[in-house]
Amino acid sequence: MSPRVTTPSEDFLRGVWRENPVLVQLLGLCPALAVTNTVANSLAMGIATFFVLTGSSLLVSLLKSWIPKEVRISAYILIIATFVTMADMLLAALVPDIHKALGAFIALIVVNCMILGRQEAFASKRPVGRALLDAFGTGLGFIVALFMMGTVREVLGNGSFLGVPLFGDAFEPWIIMILPPGGFFTLGLLLLVFAWWEERKDVPVHPRHWPHGVTVTVDAGGPGGSPAGAGVNAPRSD
């Protein structure tokens, strides 16, 4: 079975926006929720993941003829773990503060299913150039998503952007935004906006007018059209 033919630019752009790993495919949500409480942490995690993804895709694509099919997952994991160890040591050497803040989540890049998914679905079946393009695109998409989450959470939760205060001393921080619930709220809102953006293009369903003065509305009052509670009839809307 030969894969569908795609152009190089398609391979690159797909992961950035239309098939964004976090916002569309819902992969790699654990780091997206856990370490995005500041912009700096988000960027560091995004870049580390980008590095691991690119390195792994390159190596998997190069070695694809030598990896036996039966043990391919373990082989991919070994390759990914190699790059994660490198990223871990690099971060510890270059930015020790951020390395400390990210904690165990750097090691957990190994089990980021977005990375394994790209190896299994793409890098192991395509030439090196395409595998790299795909890794660049997907990694960039991951950075974009984490950056968006980090921006929302740091601005609201701390009143700053990359540590620079935006609103002065009187700012009233939304403490919940830098706590775990804030991660869920932000991700939920971003997904909502993305879904709305996609759905916006669909043609709205208009009410159909049947003869005899009967109007059939599709999804008229929405789910809220049903009575509010026990034993009460809502007034008819038609």
């Binding site: 009143g159 403490i175 919940i176 706590l179 929405g222 809220g224 049903s226 509010a228 026990a230 009839n233």
Partner: protein, 340 residues
């Protein structure tokens, strides 16, 4: 179909409508606005205690709720009055001194996340007003636990009312602890008369137990709330706290204090009885109320917070589908329970 009937249909003299064909006089709109009307004395009491700030906070919370419903609600859902009621109830759970932008945000969050995301009126799991309150409590813990003392007159602003959005105003307001806070952290009791009439510190609607009970009694009389819910909440709180008080009178407050302090009355009468988020069966209503009562006592006496009514109700809201399923009545004439 007979020819005459068909002719009548074509002429537009007959209309095809789905059942139900018999309807009671109640409607969502009427119930919602009746509940709002019974809250007017409570709002007036809040205004009398805390001045104009109270009215502005309630108005801002209502505006946030109604505005969100208007923007994102489906098909004229604003007209049923439920969003206005949510905003009003949220406003009554806030301290008088919160900045207006926070009250507005709480109303918007309560309706947006607490109700519309679930699909609008009738679909939500959690009480929207309490969702808004819980969000504000988690986001701005200090502003939400700064209690202006009542009775300072109309002209005095109770706190940072007019702070700009995202900022705190830094105003100097005269604040004091609530009766529950005094009990928990300083072991000082408040006289019963003050608690009952509501001349103590606290949230806007937490103060007068008398007015809330009167409004609740009227709603129960009109069958707009299931009286079993507040009765079981209050009974369990009274019973549990009396038992604990009997064991250790010095360490724990007695039943009157527990019943008439904090948000218990407002929560039991107006929040827990929300038709959407409370059980439909009467047996379920007893169970649900008892659960809330027990959680309130647990959180107040042994929890880290002085007040626990909000979390008690939200936790039991989550259990309502299970309570409903467990308390289905038997099908008449058979030994088996109705399927859910």
């Amino acid at each position: 179909m007979s020819a005459r009937l068909e002719a009548a249909l074509h002429a537009g003299r007959l209309e095809l409508v789905a059942s139900p064909h018999l309807k009671g006089p109640q409607s969502t709109v009427r119930i919602m606005w009746t509940v709002v009307a019974t809250l007017v004395p409570v709002v007036a009491m809040a205004a009398w205690s805390f001045g104009l700030s109270a009215l502005l906070v309630i108005a801002a919370a209502t505006l946030g709720a109604v505005g969100t419903e208007r923007l994102f609600g489906q098909g004229g859902s604003l007209a049923d009055g439920s969003a206005a009621l949510t905003g009003l109830l949220l406003g009554l759970t806030l301290p008088a001194g919160v900045p207006l932008w926070m009250a507005l945000l709480g109303g918007a969050f309560g309706i947006g996340f607490g109700k519309l995301l679930f699909g609008g009126l009738g679909q939500n799991v959690f009480n929207p007003a309490l969702v808004g309150r819980a969000f504000l409590q988690a986001a701005f813990p200090i502003a939400l636990t700064t209690w202006p003392i009542p009775g300072q007159g109309w002209s005095r602003w109770a706190g940072d009312t007019f702070a700009l959005p995202l900022l705190s105003g830094g105003a100097d307001a005269v604040t004091g602890a609530t009766p529950l806070g005094l009990m928990k952290f300083e072991e000082v009791s408040t006289p019963f008369r003050e608690l009952f009439l509501g001349t103590t510190g606290g949230s806007l609607g937490e103060t007068s137990a008398l007015l809330i009970l009167l409004g609740g009694a009227y709603l129960a009389y009109r069958n707009y709330l299931n009286w079993r819910i507040p009765v079981s909440i209050l009974a369990v709180v009274a019973g549990l706290s009396s038992a604990i008080h009997a064991v250790d009178p010095a360490g724990f407050p007695g039943a009157p204090f527990m019943l008439f302090s904090g948000g218990l009355m407002l929560g039991a009468v107006y929040m827990a009885t929300d038709m959407v988020t409370s059980p439909v069966t009467n047996a379920g209503a007893w169970l649900y109320g008892a659960g809330i009562g027990a959680l309130v006592v647990l959180i107040r006496l042994w929890g880290g917070l002085p007040e626990g009514v909000m979390y008690a109700i939200l936790l039991m809201n989550a259990l309502v589908p299970f309570i409903d399923r467990a308390t289905q009545p038997r099908v008449f004439g058979t030994g088996r329970r109705a399927a859910t």
